[in-house]
């Protein structure tokens, strides 16, 4: 999923200060799962903004709504009959959702309430870690299901660097060395030989180095 965290309240208030009526829009997908921008978080942010505004002696009308998905035009279209007197939209979706809104509602300012972080998974309740960089050419089949692009600070392709000590990365004791993890995993699978295969330099064009990426499925596209 795409993970995100709420921006500091001060920054959000700075965005919406000029407006009297806003639409605060959540998303039922990834940001709900990572407890950053679902219906619950929309309610809590609306209440926090209301309190902060009251404290500063101003007032704001906040309409709360949560879409099934903010990154799909079909769902964003639902907003068309709803949006009336709201002067701006504050989105609690990831950057994809915010941009979808900005594209659809050209005359409304759209602001992000979240900082989109990374593609990750849940380690345990309330803890998420980065798993994928979206490099566009998945290597997991060669590395025992552990990604050296997402999990190695240097994104090394052929074994660990000299900074790997006792399975930890030199950047922090909290960070495990990805290549140590890969080695342990290959060993457990009896595939140690894989470690000796030299991986060629990665072509980063598929990872964003060739400009913004797009997928077109000819059989589905209209």
């Amino acid at each position: 999923m795409i993970t995100a965290e709420r921006k500091p309240l001060e920054e959000i208030i700075e965005y919406i200060k000029p407006y009297k009526r806003i639409l605060l829009l959540g998303c039922n997908e990834c940001v709900t799962v990572c407890a950053a921008g679902g219906r619950k978080e929309v309610g809590l942010l609306a209440s926090g903004l209301q309190l902060a505004m009251l404290k500063s002696g101003s007032s704001i009308e906040i309409r709360e709504h949560t879409l099934e998905r903010q990154c799909d035009p079909e769902y964003v279209e639902e907003l068309v009959p709803m949006i009336g007197s709201e002067e701006a939209i504050l989105s609690m979706a990831c950057g994809c959702g915010v941009q979808q809104l900005a594209t659809r509602f050209k005359d409304k300012p759209v602001f992000p309430a979240l900082n989109t972080k990374f593609m990750g998974g849940s380690l345990s309740q309330g803890v998420w870690d980065e798993r994928c960089k979206g490099c566009g050419d998945c290597l997991l089949g060669l590395t025992g299901g552990i990604c050296p692009i997402a999990k190695c600070a240097k994104q090394l392709m052929n074994g660990p660097c000299g900074g790997s000590t006792d399975g930890k990365c030199e950047i922090s004791d909290d960070v495990e060395c990805a290549w140590q993890l890969i080695w342990n995993r290959l060993k457990a699978l009896g595939q140690e030989d894989r470690f000796l295969d030299i991986m060629p330099a990665k072509d980063w064009r598929s990872g964003g180095g060739g400009g913004p990426r797009k997928i077109i499925r000819e059989d589905l596209a209209e």
Binding site: P8, L9, L44, S47, G48, L51, L54, K55
Partner: protein, 139 residues
């Protein structure tokens, strides 16, 4: 300010603090009428939104009262509540409200005297802090 009577909302767990409040009543122990009790099935059921809404509606102070360490009827709802309270205290600070206006306390069902004492202490603490800036503005 001299006549300020704070409004305090206490979210009390059915299995401990709420029963302790009953106990305080049976024992004829006085505690300030400023404390408005909301019974919850477990302190872990209290949501951040319940707390912020209480402040929005004019509360000067809020506390969540759960069971003693290790005594939660639902295993660890009281510990979850304690974490939530810390989280909301930080949020209140961001909003510009004193985090001291929110507190987590632990009381067992038999501690009527402790319930009365905590209610009195928190009322006095909030009285010293003064009215919530939200209420002052709203009024």
């Amino acid at each position: 300010m001299e006549n300020f009577e704070p409004v305090i909302v206490a979210f009390c767990c059915h299995y401990c603090a709420y029963t302790a409040a009953d106990m305080a009543g049976s024992q004829r122990l006085p505690y300030p009428s400023n404390v408005k009790i909301i019974r919850v099935p477990c302190s872990g059921k209290v949501d951040a939104l319940h707390i912020t809404k209480a402040f929005e509606k004019g509360a000067d102070g809020v506390y969540v009262a759960g069971c003693l360490d290790g005594d939660c009827h639902f295993k660890n709802g009281n510990d979850k509540a304690a974490k939530l309270v810390t989280y909301v205290q930080n949020y209140l600070e961001e909003i510009g409200l004193e985090p001291e206006r929110l507190e987590m306390v632990r009381i067992s069902a038999g501690m009527g005297d402790r319930f009365a004492l905590i209610a009195t202490e928190i009322t006095e603490k909030i009285r010293k802090l003064g009215p919530s800036p939200i209420k002052t503005v709203a009024a």
